[in-house]
Amino acid sequence: MLRFAAARARQTAIVAFVVTSLAFVLVHAAPGDPFATSLDENSNFAAARAEMRLRYALDLPLWQQYPMMLANFARGEFGTSFGEARPVSAVLTDVIPDTLLLMVPALLIGVLAGVAVGTWQGAHAGTWRDRATGAFALSVLSIPEFLLALIASLVFAVRLRWFPGTGIFSAGAVHASWLDTVGDYLHHAALPVSVLALVIGCVVARFQRAAVVDTLNEEFVRTARAKGAATRRVLVHHVLRRTGGSLFAVLGLLVPTLVGGAAMVEMVFGWPGAGATLVSAVGSRDYPLVIALVLVGSIAVCVGSAIADAAAVLANPAIRKEA
């Protein structure tokens, strides 16, 4: 297990280095201008531009900026965001919790519902209900996340007005109690979390169904059944335990894709998380913020997959021996 952890740490370090270098080179070769947002007449353009370039030492040679930047990263200093004129670390502490407020519930609901549906499907494999559910899952996965999000927003927020269309909390709301705050959050989170959870759930359900079908065909399960164990008991005691490990492995592989999907959902719902912030940072050439977000995002993904893999190893004795 220790060896496993060490290998994972090494991998995370490699990812961090590769991503930082990539982001740095790409972002600095960009032709765009980081200090432009308005084109009003009489606005202060050239002067502001020159001043910002000076302040951020962008006219130094790249090779001098890069080591400086790496050293700063090691200390957790990502510089100052161009667009927001405040430390990048402050931006990160703002946006990361908000992304978690979207992703954690979506992941929990999605995985739980997916496992439940998939197991049920596996147990009833071949029936029309199984096939209808499977076809539904396949259809959902064939539609890009942003499109699902957009349609959900237009129908349930704009036309029906059941849910708010943007943000995490009502702008300008003064919450009387913590219950109020939670309620406001739930109301806002309902649509984006549902969309993301739906996508996750469909992926998980499809995988879980296949795993359950496989396991049910295996010798020991057939034996258990032959011995007269109830179907539900067999499912819970033998099948779920058996499929758990590989489910976590699949989740580990899914995390990077999930991060991309969450970013698109964030953008559609104006959810001020890391993904939406990254897209706007790219648009405004906010160099330090782009680098920091890509770096933090990749490391988070590494850690996420490592946790999933560790869970897979713990859950499945067969893999444990190999590792």
């Binding site: 090494r10 991998q11 490699i14 990812v15 590769v18 991503v19 990539l22 982001a23 790409l26 972002v27 070769a29 960009a30 032709p31 765009g32 494999a125 071949g126 029936t127 199984d130 096939r131 499977g134 076809a135 396949l138 259809s139 996965l141 064939s142 539609i143 890009p144 996340e145 942003f146 499109l147 349609i151 237009l154 129908v155 036309r159 995988f207 079908v213 496989d214 065909n217 699949v250 592989l253 899914l254 995390v255 990077p256 894709t257 991060v259 991309g260 970013a263 698109m264 953008m267 993904g275 990254l278 897209v279 790219v282 782009v290 977000l293 995002g297 990749s298 993904v301 590494c302 997959s305």
Partner: protein, 281 residues
């Protein structure tokens, strides 16, 4: 296959020729767009009278806000979107198979490093990398977008190929060839590559299912294909502002994306059968 039929996986209930036909139809459409498009996709009709017309016998899929024929734009959009998918899959095949075969046959230390690199790439969120590259160029051309999507998708392929190579390398006939003194390169090309290709092809088909939505999403958020080139993503962007009144703008590109992705998934799974080692994210 028989077990799969018995247990009733969705793909098993859809005859394989259905998704294959759907895909073939799309490919055929893409190849013949120039000849079958009833209108020039880039030319507007009467700027005032012909805009946002609902589907009719003249304009099968209606017209857009710029008074262009949506059906013709869909045909050419299919060309662009499938072209991007094809090119990126080619990149995935080329890089992924090469990397996987080399790693599979390489000495353990090299294999370890190559796979560690693959792991690192797989752990990197693709969208972040592509967005970083958009920051770099301001706007990607269709070709560079395709290359980029390919270059961020090959690690999964190389993992699968390497696993397959390892399997084949351990088989008797490869061992026999080696005993007979066949050169390493020869073994790789003559014995291992053909054995790897089926798995690689299935993975390649499944890659399409991830490339097409990604292209659409990037174009939709203004980071992918730019108008006036029509891709499915660009058509969706045209549609996104008014999906509830000009429904035809949204319906046709979404349906095309969904049909392609679904067919690819069905076909891929059908071909993959029950070989769990091919499971790719």
């Amino acid at each position: 296959m028989s077990a799969s039929r018995r247990t009733g996986n969705v793909p098993a209930f859809v005859p394989a020729f259905v998704p294959a036909c759907v895909l073939a139809l799309f490919v055929l459409t893409a190849l013949t767009a120039q000849w079958i498009a009833p209108f020039d996709p880039a030319v507007s009709g009467d700027l005032v009278a012909d805009r946002l017309l609902a589907p009719s016998t003249t304009h099968w899929f209606g017209t857009d806000a710029s008074a262009r024929d949506v059906f013709s734009r869909m045909l050419f959009g299919t060309q662009v979107s499938l072209g991007i998918a094809a090119l990126s899959v080619a990149v995935v095949l080329l890089v992924g198979v090469t990397w996987g075969v080399i790693a599979g046959l390489a000495p353990a230390w090299l294999d370890g490093w190559m796979m560690r690199f693959v792991d690192a790439l797989m752990a990197t969120p693709r969208l972040l990398v592509v967005l970083a590259c958009v920051a770099f160029t301001g706007r990607l051309s269709a070709t560079s977008l395709a290359l980029l999507l390919g270059l961020t998708a090959w690690p999964a392929m190389s993992r699968i190929v390497r696993a397959r190579v390892r399997e084949l390398d351990a088989t008797d006939y490869v061992a026999a060839a080696r005993a007979l003194g066949a050169p390493r390169m020869g073994i790789a090309v003559r014995h291992i590559l053909p054995g790897v290709l089926p798995a690689a092809m299935v993975t390649a088909i499944l890659t399409v299912a991830s490339v097409i939505p990604l292209e659409a999403g990037l174009s939709y958020f203004g980071a992918g294909i730019a108008p006036p080139t029509a891709s499915w993503g660009v058509l969706l962007q045209d549609a996104s502002a008014r999906p509830l009144d000009a429904w035809w703008l949204l319906l046709f590109p979404s349906a095309a994306i969904a049909a392609t992705v679904m067919s690819v998934n069905l076909l891929g799974e059908r071909l993959r059968g029950r070989d769990r080692s091919l499971l790719a994210p």
